[in-house]
Each structure stands twice: as C-alpha cells, then as structure tokens.
Symmetry: C2
Subunit: 836 residues, 2 copies
C-alpha cells in the first residue's frame, strides 16, 4: 500500500510537469491571450519592439539606435555557442579548482599521518579523525542546506530529462552544497567517485546559465530547449571530470537518455571539447604538465599491443566483470534495503544521518590504516595513486621488480615483506568491493564510477600478473615471444567492471581517453560488451537500481532483446474505467469527479453517450471554474441576504477581537490561509456549504437560529444552482491530448512516452474515448509489478519531500485552489505543483 | 512546375509508407480480423500453436516434442544476438573479400603498367585502358541490373530510416550489383571511396538477414523493429569498412538519423565489434599482420605529442578545412547541376550513362599518368598508399630525407627531380579536389569519405611540412625543443576536411581508430568542431546536398542554432483548406474529393458542421468502398436489364473473336487491365457512366440505340443511387491520426515528425479539424522554398523511376484501384505504392 501511495504521489508530480514540455508554449500563449489585453501582451513579450514615443526626433533616433544595439546584443547572447562556451568554461573551472582542494585535503591527511609517526596510536588517530571530521562536515552540510545534493545525482537527472521536473535539484544552492560536500568527501578518501556528482553539476550549471541568459534572451525561456541544454551540461560535466570529451558525451547519453537527439550530441561535444581544453590548459598553466595529455597516460608498446591468444583471456575477464558488476549492484541494493529495514535504526538515521556517515568513515579508515590491516591492501594509496600504479608498464610479479620499488614511489605500497603481490591485490579487490558498495549508500554526494574503476583495474592487474607468471617469457607467435603487459589487463578489466555496473559501452571510450592509448581498443570493447550482456541480464544498472529504490517516477527501459514487448498491446494494459468530464457535466458532477480522482488532467468528451474525445482539461482549470461559479453565486447570494450577512460579518469581526484564545487564533489563521481572497465570512459559509461540510457550519454558527435557517435556504438554492451545466467558455482546454489506439504495441507506446515525455495518453477508437494509459500502467506492463518489490524511500528523498514546505515554490495558487476543493489532500502529497 | 510535380510524386510515396511504421500493427490486425475468420487468423499467425489431431497418443507425443523443439529453435533464432552476430560475420566477410579483389585489380594495373615500360605510349594505354574497362563494366553493370545501386547510398538510407521505404534499395540483387560494381570502380583507382556503399551494404544485409530470419520467427516481421535493425546494419557496414567500431557506430548515427535510440547504439556497437573482430582476424589469418592492429597505425611519439603553441595552427587548419568542405559540396552540386542542364547531353547520358563514366575515367587516368602530369601529383599511388605516406613519421622537407626515399617505398612518389615536396603536395591537393568532386557525380557506386580524407591528409601534410620548415629545430617550451610532427598535421586535417563535408563529429573518432593513436585526440576534435561550424553555416552536408538534388522525400534538419524555429507555430504554415470526408458524405462527394485530391489518406469528420475529427481513412479504402457500391449496383442492374446485357455481352465476345485488328486488341487489352475483376461488359459501361466518361460509352456502343436508352436510364438511376450516404461499416478507419494544436511550435512539430516518422498530421482545436500539415509544409517552413531551388532528378533516380515497371511490386492492387478512379494518374507518378 505504501508503495502504491508513493507511486500516486509521483503521478501528481508527473501530471504537473506535462506543461513543461508538452504544452508549455500553447499554455503560455493562451494564458497571455486570455489574461492580458493585446497591448499588454505585446509589451510582455519584451524588448524586441522599438518603443515609440511622442518626443522629438533626436530622442527617437537615439532610441532606435539603442534598440538596434539591444537587438544585436540579444541575438549574440541568444547564440547557442556562447552558451556552450560559457558552460564549458564554468565546468572546467569547477573541475580544476575542486581537484586542487581535494589534493590539498589528501595532502594534509598524508602530512598529518607522517608527522605523527612517532606513536602508532597518534598516527591512527590522525589517520581516522581527519577523514571523520571531513565526513561529518560533508554529511551535516548536505543535510542542512540541500539534502537533495546527496547521492550520485544521475538517477535524478535521468528522471528530470525524462520530463519530470524535480525542481530543487537544479538550484544554485544545491550546486554549491554539493560542490563543498563532495570536496570534503573526496578529501576524506572514502572510496567514492565524482562522476555522478559531475553529471549533476553539469546539469545544474546548464540550468543556472539558462536562467541567467533568460534575462537577456527570450529563447532561454523555452523549457523544451532548456531540457536539451541540460543534456549538453551533463556531457560537459562528465567530460571535464575525466578529461574525456567523446566518452563523456556518450556516457552522459547512455546513462541519462533513452532517446537522443543528434543535435544534442553536437552541443555536448562542442561544449565538452571546449571545457576540456580549458581544463587541461589550466593544468599546463599550473606547470603540472608540459602539454595537454590524458589523465592517466599509459605507454604500452605500439607495435604488438596484444597477442591473439590473449583475446580469450580478455573475454573471460569481461565475463567475470559482468558477474562482478551485477554482484556490486546487488550488494549495494541489499545494504540500502538492510539499513532501511531496521525501523528503529532508520528513524535514528533519518534524524542523524551524519552519524551513520561518521561511523562508516571510521570503520573504513580503521581498515585502511596503513600500519594495520591497510598494509595488506595498499591502504595509504589514494584512488588516483592506485590507478597510476595499476596502469604501470612493469610486471610486478617478475623476480626482483617489487624489491626495487622506491619508498617515494606509489608502487611501494604493493611491496609487502610477508605477502606477495597476488595476496595484496586480492585483499585490495575484496575489501574495496564491499567498502565501495557500502560507501555509495551514504547520504553524501558520491559517485560509483571511480571506485569501481579502481576495483576493476586491481582485478585486471591481478589477472595480468597471473598471466605474466604463467608465461614468463611472453606469448609465442611464429617463434617470436611477446611479453605479457599486466597494465593492459588492468585497463581492460577496469573498463569491463565499470561497464558491468553502469551498463554502458562508453566506459570503453572513457578508458581509451583516460589512458590516451587506443591500441587495446578492441579487447576493451569486447570485454565491455560481454560484461554488459551478462550484467544486464542479472541486475539493473546501479542508476536504475537507485531509481527503483528511491521510487523515482522513471519509465524503465525496455531491456535489450525483449522481443515479447512487440506483442503486448495497449488494450492489454490500459485502464478502461476512465474518469472524464463531458460538455454536459453539471457542477455537481465536476465536484464529484474532482473528489474521486486525483489526476491532474481530465479528459473532456462531448457527451457520456458519444464519448467523443474533445480534449483534456487541467484539474486546476476545473477548480477555478467551480471557484468562479462560487464567486458568482456568492455575489448573488450577498445581494439577496445582504442584511443577514452584514450581521454575521460583524459577529466574526467581534470573534477576531478575542484573539487570546489559541484555538480561535488557530482557526482563524487556517481560515485566512484557505481563503485569502474571500475575506468575508459569508464566503467561508458558502464554501462549507458547497462542499457539504455541514459540521463546520454548525461549529461556526452554533446558537444562531436565524443564520441556520438562512443557510438551509442557501443550501437548497445552491444545490439547485449546482445542477446547472458547466460553462466551459472560459476554460483552457488542451485540444490535442496524446492519443493511442487499442492495438498500438507496448513497444511503440514506450517509444512515444519516452520521446515525447508523456505522462498519460488517451486510448481512442474512432474518436471515442475508451481508455487511458499512464506512466504507471506502462511501468507495470514493462516490469510486472515493480512497485511490490520497491522499498521505502531513502531518507534523502523523504526529506526532500517533507522539507518541501521550505521551498517557496511548493505552495502555489493551484494547490490552494485544490485544498479549497479537497480538504483531505495535504500539501506533502504534491511536492511539485508549480510549473513556472 | 517540374519541381512541384516531383514533389507531388513523393507525397504519394510518403503517404504510402505511413503504414510501415505508424500503423503497421494496427492495420495488419484490422485486416486480419476483418478479412479472415477467427480460425484462419490463428493459423495465419504461424507455427507457435501445437497442432492437434485425432491420431493415436504416440503421434501426439511426438508432435508435442516436435513443437517444443520448434519453439526452442524459434526463441533461439529470434534472439537478437544471433542476428547481430550473423550481420557482423556477413559484413566482415564482405569487407574482407572485397579488399582482396580490389587489391588484385590495383595490383594487376600496376603489373601491366610496369610490364609495358618499354614504350611510353604502350604504358599510357595500359594505364588508361585497364581502369576504363573496369569503369565501363561497373557503370554498365549497375545500369543494367540495379540502377539504384549507384551513388553512395547514404542519402537513400537516410530517407529509408526516415520511414519512406524505397523498396528496390534493399534487395539482394542491389547488394550483389553494388558489390561487384564497387570492386571494379575501386579497382579502377578512380578517386572515390567505399564508406557510403558500405553503409548501404550494411542496411541491405540487415534487411536480407531480417527477411531470412522472418521464415523462422514472427518477430522479424515487425517493420518497426526491422527498421531499427537497419540502423545496426549501417553501423556495422561503416565499422567494417574502417575497422572502427566506435567511429562507425557514431558516424552511421550522425549521418543517417536525427533521433537515435540508445538501444540501437547498443545493437550497432555489439554487431560492429564482432564484425570487426572477424574482419581483422581474417587479416591476421592471411598473415598480412601479426596481430589485430589499426588500419593505418601511426607511431607518433607518446611523451609530448604536440606543443600548446601548435594548437592555433590546428584550429586554423580546422577553419580552412571547413571552407574547403563547403567548397567541395558546392563544387559537387555545381557539377551535377551543370551536367543536368545540358539538355541534349542529358538525354544522351541517361541512355548511355556508362559513356559518361568512361570519359571521366579516361580523363582522370590521363592526368594521373605517372610519366605525364601524374609525376607532379604522385599519380602512381593508390589512395591507401597515399594515406600511409601522409601519416609517415618522418619530415619530408628536412634536408636529404626525400633523397633517401627508396624506389620500392610509397614515399618515392613524392620525390621529384625538379619540384619540391611543397609543389607536389599542392598540385595533389588541387587536382584531387576537383577530381573527387567530379567522380562522385558518376552513376556508379561511390563514396565521398575516403577521397576527401586523402585530400585532407595531403593538405595537413603540406601545412605540417611548412611548420617543420618554419621551425626546423622544433618548437620551444621551457628551453626544450620538440620537433614538429608533420604526420600529425595530416591526421588532424584529414579528420577536419572530412568533417566539413559530412558534417559529423565522429570523423574524429574514426580517425583515432584508423590511426590507432589518441594522443592527438583533442586537436583533432577541436579542428573537427571548428570545421563543422563553418561548413554547416555555408552548405548542407554532401548527403543532404544529394538528397536535395535527388529530391528525396526527406525532412531537412533544423540546423544548428536556429532559435527562430522555436517561434514559428503550426498555424503559420498549416494548410487550412483541408480535403475531408464526413460521416454524412454521399458517394458522389466521395468521388468528387477523390478526383480533387491525390492524398493517400483523408480525414474523416463527424459532419461538415461540427468538423469533429473521427479518424482518417486511406484512399484505397475509399476506392474500394465505391467499388463495392458499384458492384452492388451492377448486380441490381444486371437483375433488371438482364436480357439487354446478355446481348451486349455476346457482342463483346464476338468482338474479342476478331482479334486480328490491332486496334481492337489494344482496346481489349486496356480493358482487361482496367477491369480484371469485372469481366462483363456491363461493368465497363457502368464504370464509364459512373466516372462520367460519356465519350467512351459512345465509342463502345455506337449505333446501338436500344443500349443508349438503357444506358440513359441506368445513368439517371445511378446518379440517384450515388446521392446516398456512404456506408462506412466495412471501412477500415485509422482511429488516431496524429494531431497537433495551432500553437505547437515548428521545433516540436519537427521533433514529432522526425521521431514518429510522420508524413502528415491534422491540426485540431477542441476536437475540430482546422488544418493539416504534411511533410511538404514542414519542409517549406524549415527551408523556405527548397523546391524552387531544386533540380531535375539525376539520371540514376529517373531511371529508377521509369524502370519501375520492371519491378514486380510496383503495380499493386491499390494502384489499379486508383487508376480505375483517376484515369489521368499514370504509373510513373507512383513509383512506390507498395508497402508490403
């Protein structure tokens, strides 16, 4: 039931968001035409029209000149490339400065650790307390300022790009909170990554820049276009994170979209290339590097990168990584589920979620403490240093190599007096695996890409070293021996394991761009594809898993190779019992339907007999229709019972005088909240009457017999009035809601829903409305009953919803109207009713 | 006018193709339900239902066992990965064996040339005649067997993926013709490429494999799915051509689609990777290479690939290449236009198009003749050898290097006793530029990617050598000198110029995969993007240019950064004067409308007053409605005038007896063609009456006064009957045609048309039909008046249309019906009326 309820909540969110893409232009148009007189409308459209005045010619010429300049400036600022370049610069700077701060933190950590090497206890404290403090700060800061900044952000961006606006996720506040927290988290060396948050950053930057640009150019007010810009933002984000323009764009596409406009790919590519150019130039400018290079450049041999006989080993690694990826997602899901299941603990954690983060931080730091257990898993290495060491060109298992490792070198961490390289690598893989799966469940900004990448690289190195030991002279082809390159195995496995978790192929491209070598392109691709096939058959991707756990309103993908979906048709899963209004509906019918259903849009048919679909009407519109009617009635009533009401109004003002009683104050305040635009008491009585809440009337007017009689009279008269047919003349009707046919296949419906970001579609048969399909039915049809498997919401999301009242755009006129009509609907059920 | 007419032709094609994607399932369903009884329907659905018989138990068990096996086999064969792997293998083998044959031809050419070096004249002959013969064969072969195999194929595939089925383009015959012709063309060393044809091959292979698989599994009968498979096919095709899986997939996406399903990217990637693995393994198996490597591996230095100070040069090259790309497209268009304008020549060429090909071949061979002018442009090098030499690691302009070039080396071609490297390179660039632009206008299978790639590489080499001369010691950073690598300039410019012509970014990826080095990734990307921006602003891509010239029914792209499209709305360009039928239409109205319009689908409204849109009806359906009515009437009439008609039928059989008169034979044959299913003469009289062709009646029945009276009577009675309301009971109505609102923006309409492959959409306002938008209006709205600029069709396409009668699926029942109704519509105007 809980599952269903939360599903219902999103239905609302969904319905709300339709105008954003579907009919935004139309709506704005009608509201402009409807509400404003023609002139005002023209003025409202902005600066493009040269203003004309009755001043002398000189001023006129000046004005014309100014208008011309303005137009030029606007066309320039409206140009897409300006936006894309701004976006690139913004994210490049962000990435660059974040890297600096993260490095500062990890460096300080190392410094403290080495400074206190006189005493193991002191050293332990400095090793554990530093990250603990950072973590506590990050978790507390996130919780305090923007709980929605926690997590990777990719699932939410995926949902937003699907057309469901989760407003709070794209604010500047969220950006700043997430940036600061992420720097702390990464500085604390928890095994989490930054790719997910960077996708989020990219999207926020795009949204913020769009908002900023909208001051200058009207084009940026088009929501559909802005959503497209978000895609570009994601691409730049991920690109700047890995200095991988191609991989970044492809990854962001694969991860966030199901359909993909080639135009967006263009935008992303341009912005990402520019961003990365800036990002890498900054590095060169800081004299860290001589020229623009890859982030983790490898120097494997070019002439004979791998032997064909190694190909089966690469593919086998792909298979293992596929299973590993699925296991990781499963483990992560199980941990989340376990934490949620502990009721008592759960309550404690929701209120003190940073305690949980702190505990995990201490636990992990203790295990990685280099003089302790950390010595068996190269605990002192940061993720970056580990990666550099895994991609090393040497073969560690060869005799004497490990002994040569220098104290100052990263590789020194892999040298252990008792255990050999294989043991250390195995322990590393095992420990990091569950540590990462645990860490990314914390309510802090964290990505899962990089930690998995590191685990994969370690696993590959392990296999590579094994191969090098098996074939010490290398692999023979035509009597020529080619030595095994363990670093290449690390590269292949890193890509394959990440692919297994993210279900993307572009990890191969990211890998190629990260290492700056494509000679292993084919083995990487093959392993990535194999890993993908296995992982996709076992588990959803980590992002889809989080979407399921968080129950975000996202339409699941069709899955790869599910041919049976072509044989399910709309008639098999549509809802036949449609709630509708007809041209002949009375106000009473309207009220009844509004009470019965919570849909945000209702179909309008010609008559109950013909059922010819004419369009759809928003709930808010219907509410305002009734409100108008009430207003009309009230005016008439007031004319009729003027004297009586005059008296009762006096009474009510008297009641407001004795405001000492807290109960009456409470009642009054709730009154004013509900009826800000109906100041006289009469209206509140009327309202109560209209909605049949007789008890309230009795409380208000107890003892007043005269009033009671009048009210009864009004009620009778009113009921009569409400039997009148609704006047739809002033109602905004969406004249072309999306329609399907009974025999449209699930596959095609899915395509339409995805491409057009639909939330519902009406099923018609020769003009007659016969059913409706909403996202929920779609989801059920695709996944069976996903909601049954579902879990309660994560604290983060719960807080996002409950704290909704804190956001000023949650309470809008519409909700008020609705509350007016449906007293049982409370605000928390409609977190995103605004679509401005 | 000509332009409009051809546009009209495609309108038909378009309208025809709707069912393929839009409503294929629905249509099939209704036709099954409508035409077949329930049982037959079930049987028609195939093998999945175990057959039950009254035989003994043993047989029953056997049958069940067999059915189970069959099901297993079917699910296995239906699995997507089988299909993808088959596709990969097929194309890998194709690519591999084509390469072998092309090499054989070029090798034979070289052998002949060197064998005849005793006499320059003989040498010239052997240099010119060999390619001439190949070209004549290729052109003749193409013209004879499959004229649609000519050209690159990408424009047509783009159109097909847009939803317009150009049937002949995806047959096995076309594949074989194109393969054989392409081998000859490439063997003749004309500067054309193979990437376009390979996209075409990929699509054909996918279509053929789909067709093959459809014998085993019903899933392959789903056209929407098959279209998705075509996309995968294209990706594999281009991938196998360049051994570039990533680049291939991206290129095929960029070139063929505007919208792109991430699912397809997955499919393409898997199939391409597998195909390329096979393709490269075959090369290793042939002992040409030791292991899997890139096609043109480069070995530039890894430590300091380029200096930051070189970046502006790379970007400048991007700018020049952008202009160059636009110039190439312009030049190619102008040549096509020029050739078409010469009326007399045009007629000659259409009939003898291989003569034109031969002339061009001789002209180009003469210019490249190595002892002649060819010595100034490295004439003896094939495209592959040129590329290898451009990507060479040495700096040619350095003193003494060119002198060291060995006779057997490819580089020897660049050594000239009088002219230096710069002159030879410049001449090469200039000559190849126009030669390539000319060659790809020939009616032979040819791609434009590779020749442009070679030109770009040459240009880059030229710039690189220039830089090396300017900075002989290399470029200084921090007092370290890094020598210039001219080969890298060639790589960057090749990618940039190709990008300028194809308007794709994936050329960067292809380049990286071709050379097997990504160290120059960022300069390549930057140059490619700059080149794209410039070229896109100047000219359409080469494929769009061909689409325009050929007037294929393709919706142009919105262009990059055309924000004004967001402010154009449907109401601004919709057709308000809609041809419609209403439920109250009479047969007469129907006939009138069918005569007036040639639309393939007509909207059905409730009544002319209400204009409520109920659905749309196909023209063919309406025709058959009238036909049915005529049949009914005829039966009634026959009952009434049985005796008279008996006599006139006798007369007609007597007429058929004296078949010696050619005129009567002609008349009879035309009769049978028109009325195959109406054997009695009465029907032909009736028909003539019905369609008001009184003259024909007079000719048929001259002298027969009695018949005349009867006919007059029938006519009167008939006219009465035709005033009856149409009975739509047996008519298949599409209940949900796509609807738009007046205020839908052009941008959104474009998206919908592209994604859903629409051909038209009705504009409704609260259920009322107020306008219609078809592809044509869309195109006009986007491009202004494209059709005015247009040209006559290319001979290839003309021949494709005129020879249409040779294809058995051109004359279908529907055209017949239509001909029946509209005697003035001739077949050539509807080349693709079939949609089976």
């Amino acid at each position: 039931m809980a599952a269903d309820k939360s599903d219902q909540q999103y239905e609302h969110t969904l319905e709300e968001s339709v105008p954003l893409r579907e009919n935004a232009r139309h709506r704005r148009y009608t509201s402009e035409r409807g509400a404003l007189p023609k002139d005002e409308d023209e003025k409202g459209r902005g600066v493009k029209r040269p203003s004309e005045s009755s001043n002398p010619q000189q001023i006129k010429r000046d004005q014309r000149w100014a208008a011309c300049c303005q137009r030029l400036f606007l066309s320039w600022i409206g140009a897409e490339w300006i936006f894309l370049i701004l976006l690139g610069i913004f994210l490049a700077l962000l990435s660059f400065f974040m890297d600096i701060f993260i490095f500062l933190f990890t460096d300080a950590h190392r410094f403290l650790y080495h400074a206190s090497d006189s005493n193991v206890m002191l050293q332990y404290l400095s090793w554990v307390v530093f990250p603990l403090l950072l973590m506590l700060f990050a978790a507390g800061f996130t919780q305090l300022f923007a709980p929605q900044a926690a997590g990777s952000g990719i699932p939410e961006i995926k949902t937003i790009l699907r057309g469901v606006m989760l407003k709070e996720y794209l604010t500047f506040k969220t950006l700043m909170t997430k940036v600061i927290s992420l720097v702390c988290v990464l500085g604390s060396e928890l095994p989490v990554g930054k790719e997910g948050p960077f996708v989020h950053f990219g999207a926020i930057c795009a949204a913020v820049v769009c908002k900023f640009m909208s001051f200058f150019s009207d084009i940026y007010k088009n929501e559909a276009r802005n959503l497209e810009m978000l895609t570009a933002g994601c691409a730049v984000g991920i690109g700047c994170c890995f200095a991988a323009p191609l991989g970044g764009v492809l990854f962001s596409v694969e991860v966030t979209s199901m359909f993909f406009v080639v135009r967006n790919y263009w935008r992303g590519m341009m912005s990402a290339t520019f961003g990365i150019l800036i990002f890498r130039l900054l590095v060169v400018w800081k004299k860290e590097e001589e020229t623009i290079m890859a982030l983790f450049p490898t120097t494997f041999r070019l002439d004979h990168p791998f032997d064909l006989q190694e190909l089966p080993v690469f593919i086998a690694m792909g298979i293992v990584c596929g299973f590993g990826g699925a296991l990781f997602v499963y483990l992560n899901g199980q941990i989340t589920r376990f934490v949620k299941k502990q009721k008592a603990m759960n309550n404690f954690l929701i209120s003190n979620c940073f305690v949980y983060s702190g505990l995990v931080s201490v636990f992990i730091s203790t295990l990685t403490f280099p003089p302790g257990f950390g010595q068996f898993m190269a605990g002192q290495l940061t993720q970056k240093d580990s990666l550099i060491s895994f991609f090393d060109n040497r073969t560690w298992s060869r005799d004497g190599i490990v002994e040569d490792f220098d104290q100052d070198d990263h590789l020194f961490a892999w040298k252990h007096p008792q255990a050999n390289v294989f043991v250390v690598l195995s322990v590393f893989v095992f420990m990091k695996f569950w540590m990462s799966a645990l860490s990314i469940t914390l309510p802090i900004p964290c990505g899962s890409f990089v930690p998995v990448f590191v685990i994969g690289a370690a696993f590959g190195r392990l296999v590579g070293e094994g191969m090098a030991t098996l074939f010490p002279d290398g692999i023979e082809t035509d009597e020529v021996y080619h030595p095994v390159v363990p670093g290449a195995y690390a590269v292949v496995a890193a890509a394959a394991l990440t692919a297994g978790i993210t279900h993307t192929i572009s990890t191969a491209v990211i890998m190629i761009e990260l290492t700056g070598q494509i000679r292993y392109g084919l083995p990487i691709l093959a392993a990535v594809i194999i890993s993908n096939i296995i992982a996709q058959n076992l588990q959803p991707s980590i992002y889809d898993s989080i979407i399921r756990i968080k129950k975000l309103p996202y339409l699941p993908e069709m899955g790869w190779g599910h041919q049976d979906k072509y044989n399910i048709h709309v008639e098999d899963f549509m809802v036949r019992d449609v709630q509708y209004i007809s041209l002949k509906s009375t106000y009473k019918d309207l009220l009844k339907i509004l009470r019965m259903t919570k849909l945000k849009k209702l179909p309008l048919v010609k008559s109950a007999e013909s059922m010819i679909l004419l369009g759809s009407v928003e709930r808010a519109q219907l509410c305002s229709l009734i409100k108008q009617r009430v207003q009309e009635l009230r005016e008439r009533v007031e004319g009729r019972y003027e004297v009586h009401f005059q008296r009762s109004t006096d009474e009510s003002s008297a009641a407001s005088a004795d405001a000492v009683s807290p109960k009456s104050a409470l009642r009054r305040s709730s009154d004013t909240e509900e009826t800000t635009d109906t100041p006289t008491k009469s209206s509140s009585i009327l309202k109560n009457l209209l909605f049949g809440d007789a008890q309230a009337v009795m409380i208000e007017d107890d003892g007043d017999v005269d009033g009671e009689r009048i009210l009864r009279e009004i009620k009778e008269w009113e009921e009569q009035q409400l039997d009148e047919q609704v006047n739809f003349n002033n109602c905004k009707i969406d004249p072309a809601p999306f329609q399907l046919v009974e025999r449209t296949s699930l596959h095609k419906t899915h395509t339409m829903f995805s491409v057009l970001s639909l939330n519902h579609a009406y099923v018609t048969s020769i003009g007659r409305l016969i059913g409706v399909v909403s996202l929920r039915e779609m989801r059920k049809a695709i996944e069976g009953s996903l909601t049954d498997e579902g879990l309660k919401l994560r604290p983060v999301l719960i807080s996002f919803q409950d704290y909704g009242t804190g956001a000023n755009n949650f309470i809008t006129e519409k909700t008020k109207v609705q509350k007016l009509l449906d007293p049982d609907v409370n605000l928390t059920q409609q977190p995103n009713t605004s679509d401005q």
